[in-house]
């Protein structure tokens, strides 16, 4: 063990060690989440083997490593592995004694976690999950297990895959990845994904919200169900009105979810009582 002194050339990370950093974070990113630190300690935790490899006889360096990876941190944990990849490449440089300052990983984490949380959340929670779920729900109609199985398989592959690819791309590109993430082109891609998201959310609204009126309207002597009249003009008009109203409450009025639930309950109750729904 004596030949592993600081002057001896340290070896780069093996594929296995790299993957260890990836899956340690992949498993425990939120396992100690509080509003105060959120994903902070998952970093320290995922760098323990790394610390043992490079700094087993340099306790001060190890301490600095663990400290700088115990600071507040939060991003979307799957797409966000890109940052973990970049940081892994930087920490490796630092450990190998190359000319990279120890502030670098800290700065990069602070700079990138915001943008990646934004784009990651819109894509994962705004687009991928709702779409897969709505397909699964249509497959599950009547109680068929095909629906849940479909979702388990597809997201079970997709989620870890995104995580894996993001991490290794980050590691491969290193700091060059930053340009890609915060650069002009990235803004354009994010905007485009937003457009995609908005259209999909529109379809989702039409697909999942159900509101039918049971009122009847007099039409030339006879009465006709209002619902079929509305359907002739604009199928899904009531769900559309409801969702636009909800959006207005949430975005313009800044109402909380619980408040909106209460308001919707009141509306539905009144509507039911006066024989509208």
């Amino acid at each position: 063990m004596m030949n592993r002194d600081t002057s001896s050339p340290k070896k780069p990370l093996t594929k296995h060690e790299l993957n260890q950093i990836w899956y340690r974070w992949g498993f425990t990113h939120l396992s100690s989440m509080s509003y105060e630190k959120i994903q902070a300690h998952a970093w320290a935790y995922s760098y323990i083997p790394f610390a043992r490899k490079y700094y087993h006889d340099e306790p001060e360096k190890k301490r600095r490593l663990l400290k700088r990876h115990s600071m507040f941190y939060n991003t979307e944990p799957q797409t966000g592995q890109l940052i973990n990849g970049i940081v892994a490449s930087l920490e490796e440089q630092i450990a190998l004694g190359n000319n990279v300052s120890e502030e670098m990983p800290v700065n990069i984490k602070a700079t990138l976690m915001g943008p990646l949380a934004g784009i990651g959340d819109s894509i994962i929670q705004g687009i991928v999950v709702p779409i897969l779920l709505s397909i699964a729900m249509s497959l599950a109609s009547g109680g068929s297990p095909l629906g849940p199985i479909f979702y388990i398989v597809t997201y079970g592959i997709l989620g870890p895959m995104i995580s894996y690819i993001a991490f290794h791309s980050g590691y491969r590109l290193g700091v060059n990845a930053i340009d890609i993430i915060v650069g002009e082109n990235s803004k354009r891609i994010t905007d485009a994904f937003n457009i995609l998201g908005v259209m999909v959310v529109g379809a989702l609204a039409a697909n999942t919200i159900v509101l039918k009126t049971i009122a009847k309207v007099p039409l030339g002597g006879k009465t006709k169900p209002l619902e079929s009249v509305l359907n002739g003009i604009f199928p899904g008009l009531l769900p559309l009105i409801i969702v636009l109203f909800g959006w207005w409450l949430v975005s313009s009025k800044q109402y909380s979810a619980t408040k909106v639930i209460l308001i919707l309950t009141v509306i539905v109750t009144i509507g039911c009582l006066i024989g509208l729904f």
Partner: protein, 284 residues
Amino acid sequence: MNTDLLFPALLTGIFCYLGAIETPWLFGMSGGFYIVGRPLIAGFLIGIFFGDIKAGILCGLAVQAVFIANLSTGGATNSEITYAAYGGIGLAMATTKNPAIALTLAILIGQTFGLIFYNGRMALYSFWNNRADKAANENNDHGIVLNHLIYPQITTFILRAVPVFLAIYFGKGLVNWLIHSIPQEVTHIIQVLGGVLPALGIALLMSIVIKNKAHLIFFMAGFVLLSFAKLSMIAIVFLAALVAYLYYYASAHSNGTDYQKNESSQGGTGSTDTKDEYEDDDLF
């Protein structure tokens, strides 16, 4: 002791822990929150536990619709979907197996009890965080493992598995009594509400993705393609991708010229070609 109920209730409690956002065992959020935590999957699993998969999935479907666009950003959540799913569906499966009951219970649990427990736990965790911090400062690897992983997980297991198990195991009677006292009008209202509540999730999604009021045009197009043209979600995703690409392309050229301005202006066409290949790398 009611052993018929014991194991299903126990398993439901355990999976309410396994589907939590802070659970690590199934590759973090990927397998936990995003899979086991979804009401549709919860319904499937609870159906297996209670020996009636079909009824479980039907309950899961009802609850999932309302929470289709559940959001957790920045650690904050609008409703505690996992308590809602396992508590609501679990109690319903222990009693009438009625989807509308599952839904009502899910909402009640998710918006009250669930949110309180969630935020309580978040506060408690600051305590472990503090200790993890100190461990890092003292070069104490083991302390990090304990305070980042082991202790917090024991905490949340107690806060999730135990109350859900107790609620199902001992709440069955109460819920049964409640169900039978509900007048039919209220059942109707609950049913209608179940159709309306997904609007909340959608509205929250909208407030995230719509950054410019004019983009409501895209929302309407998506709505209309489903409601009028009766296209399926998958088809609409592809058409939306086309629209998004055109949007991207239109913005690309603007920036293309922008960029060229700072450079010398020779080789306009050439640099556009480079752009084109660049697009590939980024988009796929």
